[in-house]
Symmetry: C2
Subunit: 514 residues, 2 copies
């Protein structure tokens, strides 16, 4: 058994079953070992940012790490932006980054680079497997780190000699640390806050925005009258009919400050205290007003479920007490396409149990609002602000959940970053319906230009935010990668294309020109 | 004058006139300042790897740094692979990477990341402008560093507060270090080697493969009978009729070893000693045989021109002694498309003074060979091995040299990495003819699989190297980005499309299915 085989066998034994791959020469021994471990499905992406974005979507849906297979520093570099998003989503991922044989590195061949340094900003664990014997135990540690607690991104640098040489065999995962458990004082303090006759926001994140957590949060809210909120960009939220509905923390600082202006207590359950996404002259970075006291039920790197359960029990909150959202679908819209009618078409057409990978940016507001009462679905948001995640994330979610329909909501600016993911969707026959919000601008930048005082930009500044001259035709781009595509010219046409897209197997793309 | 304006004004005063931009919110003050410094042409790329690849092409053609404007760590990450290639090409580049206002960074907002660490592996100079007053002098130092000697990639991290606040004004460049000059002992030692009756290879790089350097190298070769060679992947080589022709150092180690087996002396002029691109079990990393003695005329970070001139003079080599290549064009080919007929079509059609940006990978051998005697042209190669450079590099070269026809030779695997560059070609009306070598595989990986002993890969390993199911249609991809495209079905059709492409303004794309 080679080092590469021992490494992959270790991953298989630990339940890892997918590798999002864009290998090169230095990774050929790992690629060769893939045939010896067919339990690992190797999914080719034609750009590394596609691979890391798919791994993010996969990890968000399964809670388990996928592997990525990347080609030295250049491959890792191409994957960094979506690893940044995954880091902010606290997604478990194990990157395998190939490298030259270690004896070759001092010769500074053209592809040699400082991989470990490059990996640090997006990894909470980085190691180089110095020998074939180390490959399996290193992979075991990488997986253990990725799974956690608290979990995160592990990057294993795999020199070709360590992959090629003979190894002993697979390794088993080290003993996992146990999750911190709630202590009585913390719970009692939270109870005291919630029993005061003062306005409280319970801000939840992580597992607290999925079914069990939502029901616990809803129980607490019903029993105490507090307002339950999620952070602005959740990694994986369950939403829609049959689940408690949470308010979402707004994006812009003035809206957050307004939202919290009458709130006296902010209880944080796995969520960081709200800070401004960007800093503006007139607003602070810290968006918790001085009139509002923060209390940390549990920090962001701790699973909030046991804390919420202990809190709900301590409050004697009735077990089935959460208020559940009733199904309320908009009528299928007709007429012109705008963000409102697009949102209505999506909310009306969205099938039960869909997954929505949302990088709709400035075009997605009405869709977000209208799908709150749609059929139950999972929603994945752009956690780290690095655009170009939506289509890869949708693809990875579809790999994770082949039986579920996946909807990618994608602004055109971000779509151009990682459009290669469409090819992988076609190759793997992934059930992804891609909606491109084609407003032909970096609209968020036009908004931000105005906010930062550049309300009347000159032609050069303006030109940096306009995706015109030429206009991009997403039908052609999709077709070129084997994905059927259309450009509906009305809301009813979009609705009917969405219905068709959800019903038919394989990927499709709809360009919505706004 | 804001920090951003002082920074751009400093760049303008230093002769910098292009910024390859993909900005975000944190860069809005720099974007706003672009209208105050219209001497800087801001070219929008729809992905940061396009911007850095364009900056590489621009810098290789002009010898002057372009700016890039990138959005925090995620934007820099996306640009890393082509910065790696630029680093290997010793291209001068100044990256401006925006960041949050410094007061905001401790709040760890979603887009916060460790930019300085990420920049290090691809930059030889990294600095954060901590104040608006520092912005201009920091930019002056960045440019001075990029220009050199020895020159390289400078990354200036530009927090939004430093860009927005009031600054004093532009700064002037610090005194540049002077180039090392040849000393007599070194020249005399080289003369002694060349006057021995033993086989000598003079391996040249950098400026030595452009006109003046080639003529000097040719003088030396004619006068001494030594063999003049270039390294395998030159950053910017002048080639074709009227210039001395150099042998190219082969790619694979066994070919280098064979080439040098009878050589007793290797004189290095700006070139590193040949090392294996990848390491194979049966061949060493260092490809200089023990029977061959290396002598460094000047190291890779030093301009070889004065050394070659001093050497030529010391040898009393006749001033016009270089043997010049005679124009020899293949007949325009006909019949089936294969790498040989494609090479013939290109060599026959290539106009005088063209620029060839070459990432043709495994498909480009015959083209390389046949264009050695074609009309004189500049050729830019993939220096760092990070694929996805060709189309952006061609675009940047076209920005640098708007009067010259540019030909991008691009394998389809690498083309998918940074296809967004086609949109910039269309928007800027760049005279780039893109030839996509569409063999629908990562052919180099199939070659390397066989070389590394995986001569009979299983279906999974094989699948990782095949760009099929679905096949990509480059006509659609180009059309979607506003670039006219065709798929010639014969060598004569390709030849006629090439002639048309070179004659018509603006970009075009030809997909050559192999």
């Amino acid at each position: 058994m080679t080092g590469a085989e021992s490494l992959l066998r270790t991953a298989v034994d630990a339940g890892v079953d997918v590798c999002f791959s864009n290998p090169g020469t230095t990774e050929m021994d790992v690629v060769g070992a893939l045939d010896a471990t067919p339990e690992v499905r190797s999914v080719l992406g034609l750009f590394e940012g596609v691979c890391t974005g798919m791994a993010d979507g996969y990890g968000r849906m399964t809670g388990r790490p996928a592997l990525t297979l990347l080609h030295l520093g250049v491959g890792l570099g191409n994957g960094i932006a979506n690893l940044h998003n995954a880091r902010r989503a606290r997604t478990p991922i194990v990157n395998i980054v190939g490298d030259h044989p270690q004896s070759h590195i001092p010769f500074d061949a053209p592809l040699t680079s400082d991989i470990a340094t490059m990996a640090k900003p997006v990894s909470s664990w980085v190691r180089t497997s110095a020998t074939a014997a180390a490959a399996a135990p290193d992979m075991a540690e990488a997986i253990a780190h990725a799974v956690g607690p608290p979990g995160g991104i592990a990057t294993l640098i795999a020199p070709a000699d360590s992959m090629r040489d003979e190894a002993v065999g697979a390794a088993t995962l080290p003993m996992q640390a146990s999750e911190p458990r709630p202590d009585e004082d913390t719970i009692r303090a939270a109870v005291d806050i919630l029993r005061k006759d003062e306005p409280v926001v319970l801000l939840v994140s992580g597992s607290a925005v999925r079914e069990t957590g939502l029901l616990l949060t809803g129980r607490i809210a019903s029993a105490t009258g507090c307002t339950a909120m999620s952070d602005c960009f959740s990694a994986h939220m369950e939403r829609g009919a049959g689940l408690p509905m949470l308010d979402r923390m707004p994006y812009f600082p003035e809206a957050v400050l307004e939202r919290l202006s009458d709130v006296r207590h902010l209880i944080l359950a796995g969520a960081p205290a709200p800070v401004s996404f960007f800093k503006y002259r007139d607003y602070p970075s810290n968006l918790v007003p001085e009139t509002c006291e923060s209390f940390t039920l549990c920090p962001p790197d701790v699973d909030p479920l046991p804390y919420l359960e202990a809190l709900a029990d301590a409050l004697d909150a009735p077990v089935n007490g959460a208020a559940l959202t009733e199904l309320k679908l908009p009528d299928p819209p007709s007429g012109a396409l705008d963000t409102r009618s697009v949102g209505a078409a999506i909310a009306a057409a969205l099938p039960e149990n869909a997954i929505v990978a949302d990088e709709s940016a400035t075009s997605g507001g009405p869709t977000f609002y209208l799908t709150r009462t749609a059929r139950r679905h999972s929603a994945l948001y752009l956690t780290g602000g690095g655009i170009g995640l939506g289509i890869p994330m949708a693809s990875g979610a579809a790999v994770a959940c082949p039986e579920r329909p996946v909807l990618a909501l994608q602004g055109d600016g971000g779509a151009m970053y990682t459009l290669q993911a469409l090819w992988t969707q076609a190759r793997e026959g992934l059930n992804v319906t891609n909606v491109i919000f084609s407003n032909r601008k970096y609209q968020i930048l036009q908004v931000e230009q105005a906010r930062t005082g550049l309300s009347n930009p000159g032609p050069i500044a303006r030109g940096m935010t306009e995706l015109t001259n030429p206009e991009i035709d997403w039908r052609d781009l999709a077709k070129g990668m084997g994905v059927r595509a259309c450009r509906p010219d009305s809301a009813e046409a979009l609705y009917s294309e969405l219905e068709r897209g959800f019903a038919e197997p394989g990927p499709g793309l709809m360009e919505v020109v706004l």
